[in-house]
């Protein structure tokens, strides 16, 4: 095969492999995200937010939130999420820590949102009732000060005892946001914000609906609210991970487009491979005619063509896999983290794909070459 065709074939196959790996990688992410979506939808953990528009949250006061908690069916475990109003100054022994958000919760939050307790404890009812100056740190924050046996951190210049360390589990609720320091919600009101229970710091009421459906919960809430005379018309009930679900949906749409484009390029690349392989054969009719005249049987010609395409496919596979690895690494770098994206599995997958594509697409031109009339092929031009 002429070098020109070989190069074209190698490039064609490399593009095909690159696109296939892109489809594979993005497809894998799509699959993971889709599974996560299902998981999010199947979760029993819900939240109640106060909102006139679905995603434009306004906050509730602590007393109002506690009233709503009281309207929930008996036996339902719930908690509150309160946010500090402004930036808190968080430091350890006078050295500022790179966080400035404080979250306030009751005693059930860790269990509801799946925070894993690594050390110590989460808040107990006494902490909440007595507005204790205690805090729970996320492990990434604690790692910054662990070497110095930290037992306290300072929030706005006041010492808070570290009672527990938590880490984000697989099911960690991203809706807790960026807050890395947790305090009892009563403490947030009394000591950090120094405000009354009527201040609107509560962003959501989190609860485990257990065997109840959303409609049943809504119905019971409305019924109890009427009984107690509580206004709940601005409240919305939704899955805890609703925001994440919406984000994932947008991501899925974008990724589907990428997969669609990659598949399209893949199909074009396949046709290109067939076309180039066929054109290369038509260009060397004379050579194939010679082989036939010298006694080559059909399978000799097929083997000759298949071996050449296979060799190009192998090299194209290597090139495509390498390009995909470089592209992925560059894409990781652009998102701020260096992670060399190359492994044996993707190499094997790329090579397997390329050689399979090479063999499959060489079938047609090889069969065509084997049927060439040697007399016509050898005829003097």
């Amino acid at each position: 095969m002429e070098n020109f065709y070989k190069r074209l074939l190698i490039i064609g196959i490399a593009i095909g492999v690159f696109c296939s790996l892109a489809v594979f990688t993005v497809g894998q992410r799509l699959w993971t995200t889709t599974m996560l979506q299902r998981k999010l939808l199947e979760s029993n953990i819900c939240k109640i937010i106060c909102s006139s528009e679905l995603l434009s949250n306004s906050h509730m006061s602590l007393s109002y939130a506690r009233q709503i908690q009281g309207l929930l069916p008996e036996g339902i475990k719930s908690d509150l999420k309160g946010l500090s109003l402004g930036d808190a100054h968080i430091s350890f022994k006078g050295e500022p820590l790179p966080i400035n958000l404080v979250l306030g919760t009751d005693v059930n939050m860790a269990e509801l949102v799946g925070l894993q307790l690594i050390n110590g404890r989460y808040f107990d009812p006494e902490d909440v009732a007595e507005h204790k100056k205690v805090c729970v740190l996320k492990s990434n924050v604690y790692d910054l000060i662990a070497a110095r046996n930290a037992a306290h951190i300072d929030i706005n210049g006041v010492a808070y005892e570290i009672v527990g360390i938590v880490s984000e589990s697989e099911n960690y609720d991203k809706s807790l946001g960026e807050g890395d320091v947790l305090v009892p919600v009563s403490t947030l009101y009394k000591h950090i914000e120094n405000t009354s229970d009527r201040s609107e710091l509560i962003s959501q009421i989190v609860f485990d609906k257990q065997a109840y459906s959303n409609q049943q919960i809504q119905h019971l809430l409305q019924k109890n609210a009427r009984k107690e005379g509580v206004e709940i018309s601005d409240l919305k009930l939704m899955p805890l991970h609703y925001d994440e679900f919406r984000r994932n949906e947008a991501y899925l749409k974008e990724m589907s487009k990428v997969v669609g484009i990659a598949l399209l390029i893949l199909v074009i690349a396949c046709f290109n491979i067939i076309y180039i392989a066929t054109a290369s054969i038509m260009d060397r009719e004379r050579e194939i005619g010679l082989h036939t005249a010298l006694g080559a049987k059909h399978y000799h010609i097929c083997r000759l063509i298949a071996r050449e395409v296979f060799s190009c496919a192998f090299r194209g596979g290597l090139l495509g896999t390498a390009t995909a690895a470089i592209f992925n690494t560059a894409s990781n770098l652009s998102s701020g983290r260096f992670s060399f994206s190359f492994n044996v599995i993707s190499l094997m997958a790329g090579l397997l794909l390329a050689t399979a594509a090479g063999l499959l697409t060489s079938l047609f031109p090889a069969a065509k070459a084997a049927k060439l009339d040697p007399i016509a092929a050898l005829r003097e031009e």
Binding site: A293, G295, K297, P374, L378, E380
Partner: protein, 261 residues
């Protein structure tokens, strides 16, 4: 130019009876060969002559199992070729015939040894045996020292000798040469024809050469003349005239270096 093998005493290798070959072009039928009858015995050096489009190459292609006759019977070593599968015909082309073409047809990406070894690949000769056979074939044509060169590093005459080596590497019974000197100058042409003659004289091969040059035909023992697809003359060379017996005699050096045809 006397033969060491006496053809008359040899068995009949090729026998053609009533062979014709038609080409169909739409509604038109073009008759390339019509009612060809001839027998060729082992060890003969046959020249097939005729003007352009007289059917010379078609006849050679049918003899070499590259083409099939439309009608008639072609027996090779007593066996009717009709009805043989493509695989069987490929085996015959590989084992019984050696082809030499006007346009030489060496593969430029392979070296000389690999070019000569091609027919061995198709007859499943083990790799370790191929080298010796290739060396022997190249030695026969006097090019043993050029085995590692590539075709474009050789002269036209040397390339055609390589093609002859390729044709005889499988030790075929018959060498079929279609205008083997057509693209060569006279000196190279003479050298190539002497090689072909040597194959017949020293190794007893049957050589069939298609040409329209009387000087090339002069190397043959027997001449078959074709015109419009039919044999118009088939006789021993001795009966054709002194000019054909020694075709290169009388050419001075300048002419020898010029165009052969």
């Amino acid at each position: 130019m006397g033969g060491l093998v006496q053809p008359a005493q040899k068995q009949c290798l090729i026998k053609m009876q009533g062979i014709s070959r038609d080409y169909f072009c739409g509604d038109n039928v073009i008759r390339a060969l019509a009612d060809i009858n001839c027998a060729i015995t082992k060890g003969e050096f046959i020249g097939i002559m005729g003007p352009s489009a007289s059917g010379k190459s078609t006849l050679l292609n049918i003899i070499g199992c590259l083409d099939s006759p439309t009608a008639g019977q072609y027996c090779l070593a007593g066996k009717d070729i009709k009805g043989l599968s493509q695989m069987e015909k490929a085996s015959i082309r590989n084992n019984v015939f050696g082809f030499v073409f006007q346009s030489i047809n060496l593969l430029p990406m392979l070296d000389i040894a690999a070019n000569v070894a091609l027919p061995l690949k198709y007859s499943s000769v083990p790799k370790h045996e191929r080298k010796a056979l290739v060396s022997e074939a190249l030695k026969t044509v006097g090019l043993a020292n050029l085995s590692e060169r590539y075709p474009d590093q050789l002269s036209g005459g040397q390339q055609q000798k390589v093609a002859i080596a390729r044709a005889l590497v499988n030790q075929p019974d018959v060498i079929l040469a279609d205008e083997p000197t057509g693209n060569l100058d006279s000196a190279s042409g003479q050298s190539v024809m002497e090689e072909l003659r040597k194959l017949r004289d020293e190794f007893g091969r049957t050589v069939i050469v298609v040409t329209h040059d009387p000087r090339v035909a002069g190397y043959a023992d027997r001449l078959i003349r074709l015109k419009d697809g039919t044999i118009v003359e088939d006789m021993p060379i001795q009966q054709i005239g002194a000019m054909l017996k020694n075709p290169f005699a009388g050419l001075d050096e300048g002419e020898n270096n010029g165009e052969f045809l």
